[in-house]
């Protein structure tokens, strides 16, 4: 058990190391000198040299790389060029809407996807299955920003049920803020339900063809119990995995939706950083988001040991 966890942890570190390395060197490919970029057209050569020195840009790349790894390892993601504050702080300020958006979206996606996937597997090949599978494929074909624009037009502009955009006034209470998340969460919930539906269906089909399901039938149990207890109980592990990983990907993957709805979240931060070439913010955000994904992945592995007795404890 301890050895298994240690192995997973080592894997996590390896992935994070590769992400950090990738981010570092890819950023060097970028055209333009960050220092001159920051100071604008009017900067003198001396100013630029000065700034390069403060950011360590005058040192050899290898040295910069080692220093950067060291900084990350100690939890320092550097300074934003434009926001005049540490990257980590900038991300922290934007975390709330992104966190709640990911949470609500995955809840909606699971509430749609898991029951639909189960129904589709149970009634495989019948009308219910074809309807569900077709709808899932349709949902996976919808660009989230387009659905967002349609929802805004219909539910916010036309019907006035929800705010059009933003995350409320600075002083607004939590309920007020969360009202702004209803439409974007619906959009992301629908789009992401497709994956969960398909995955639930596939896992349930696998399990339903297993011998022990036939045993459960031989016991004379009602079909509902066979499906929900015996089959779902065994399909739960892969379903939890896909739900967890989808949630993790929503943290950084809601960029487009956040932009459409003008939500001041992490995705929005990344987009403005990209448009302004604020590389420290882009790099920091990538590392934080990969870190969250890796961490959730690790947590799921731990949950495995709790729901599946076959995984030795």
């Amino acid at each position: 058990m301890v050895a298994a966890i240690a192995r997973r942890l080592a894997g996590m570190l390896a992935v994070m190391f590769i992400v950090a390395t990738m981010v570092f060197f890819l950023t060097r490919l970028a055209p333009g000198d960050p220092a001159s970029l920051m100071l604008g057209d009017q900067a003198t050569a001396a100013d630029i040299a000065e700034l390069r020195k403060t950011y360590g840009l005058d040192r050899p790349v290898a040295v910069q790389y080692v220093l950067w790894l060291k900084e990350i390892a100690s939890g320092n993601l550097g300074q934003s060029i434009f926001l005049q504050r540490p990257v980590l702080q900038a991300i922290g300020e934007r975390a709330e809407p992104t966190f709640f958006l990911a949470l609500f979206s995955i809840l909606i996606a699971s509430l749609i996807g898991i029951p639909c996937g189960i129904a589709s597997a149970v009634w495989r090949g019948r009308v219910a299955d074809q309807t569900v599978s077709g709808s899932a494929m349709l949902a996976a074909s919808i660009p989230s920003f387009w659905l967002g624009l349609l929802f805004i037009q219909f539910f916010a502009v036309r019907l006035g049920w929800f705010p059009v955009a933003g995350y409320g006034d600075p002083g607004a209470d939590l309920a007020q803020r969360l009202r702004h998340l209803v439409l974007p969460a619906m959009v992301l919930g629908i789009v992401n339900s497709a994956l969960i539906t398909r995955f639930t269906r596939a896992s349930m089909l696998d399990v339903l063809s297993e011998d022990f399901v036939r045993t459960a039938r031989a016991k004379g149990l009602p079909e509902s119990r066979i499906v929900l207890r015996h089959a779902l109980g065994n399909a739960l592990v892969p379903i939890i995995t896909v739900v967890g990983l989808t949630a993790a990907l929503l943290v950084g993957g809601a960029i487009v939706t956040e932009t459409v709805f003008g939500l001041p979240g992490i995705g929005n931060l990344v987009v403005s950083a990209v448009l302004r070439r604020d590389y420290p913010v882009i790099q920091g955000a990538l590392i934080v988001i990969a870190g969250i994904y890796v961490l959730i992945n690790f947590t799921i592995d731990v949950i495995y040991t709790l729901v599946d007795p076959r995984v030795e404890t």
């Binding site: 920003f145 805004i152 993957g253 990344v270």
Partner: protein, 282 residues
């Protein structure tokens, strides 16, 4: 392929009516894009200030945009860029992913390194990795292709590696090795032929994702420059008129949905047909 085999192939593929629907829609979209100059009723760039934001009508089926350009014509031309980029992404990621997957699956020493990098790339959401790559490469159609190809390569690598690991243990590969067939030949001929069908299925799905991702990037202003008509840039520039003229946003989006949907339907049909496990169960 002889006619009887071709007929059997098509019968299998189109056993489900939805798959047939997907194939027909896909064909229509592709032909429209290729033959755009023949089909489009107007020039995609022809501005007519007097005709700004006109609703759908007999003359402009999908209405006109903020410059008085015909939305339908722009969608037809936009398909060239959107589908072209998608196609290029598929080809590039197939090539890279297949190579890496074969190497990882066949040479144990490379496996760990390649798969760790794949894991690392897959720990980032597609769109985030894409926008980062476009940011460092610079926004252009070519770089969008490059960025998305990099984003989707890991998926192909995984599929190919998985199949390679299975196929390499099969007796005939072993036999080929014993007969002295060289490793590169074993890789390319024997294994590749056997992993071809999962790759083909994967290709259709990546095509669909790439069309969606290109639109997303263009919408964010981090993709194809706005003056090139793609379905994504059309929605991006039409966004601010959405409340007055929904059609400038609605129809390009519909084109994306139809393209992505038909690709996935065809991919699903191919998978059903090619997966022997599923075939037997039905």
């Amino acid at each position: 392929m002889d006619p009887a085999a071709a007929k059997l192939f098509l019968d299998r593929l189109f056993r489900r009516k939805l798959v047939l629907f997907g194939a027909v829609v896909l064909l229509v979209i592709v032909i429209a894009a290729i033959a755009a100059p023949l089909i489009a009723p107007y020039s995609p760039t022809g501005m007519r200030v007097t005709q700004r934001l006109r609703p759908p009508s007999a003359t402009n089926w999908f209405g006109t945009d903020e410059f008085g350009r015909d939305v339908l014509s722009r969608i037809i031309y936009g398909g060239r860029a959107s589908l072209g980029i998608g196609m290029a992404v598929v080809l590039a990621s197939m090539l890279a992913g297949t190579t890496l997957g074969l190497l990882a699956g066949y040479f144990r020493a490379l496996d760990t390194v390649i798969m760790r990098i794949v894991d690392a790339m897959m720990s980032l959401p597609d769109i985030l990795l894409a926008i980062f790559l476009v940011a460092v490469l610079g926004a252009s159609a070519g770089n969008v292709v490059l960025a998305l190809a990099i984003v989707y390569t890991p998926r192909v690598t995984r599929v190919v590696r998985g199949s390679t690991l299975v196929v390499r243990e099969l007796p005939f590969v072993e036999a080929a090795r014993l007969l002295g067939v060289s490793t590169p030949r074993i890789l390319t001929v024997h294994i590749l032929l056997n992993v071809a069908s999962p790759i083909l299925v994967q290709a259709t799905f990546i095509f669909a994702y790439a069309v969606l991702a290109e639109a997303g990037l263009s919408f964010l202003g981090a993709g194809v420059p706005p003056d090139v008509p793609t379905w994504g840039t059309m929605i991006a520039s039409g966004q601010q008129y959405a409340d007055r003229a929904f059609w400038v946003v609605f129809f390009p989006g519909l084109a994306i949905v139809l393209a992505a949907l038909s690709l996935q339907l065809v991919g699903d049909g191919l998978r059903d047909m090619l997966d022997p496990k599923l075939r037997k169960a039905l």
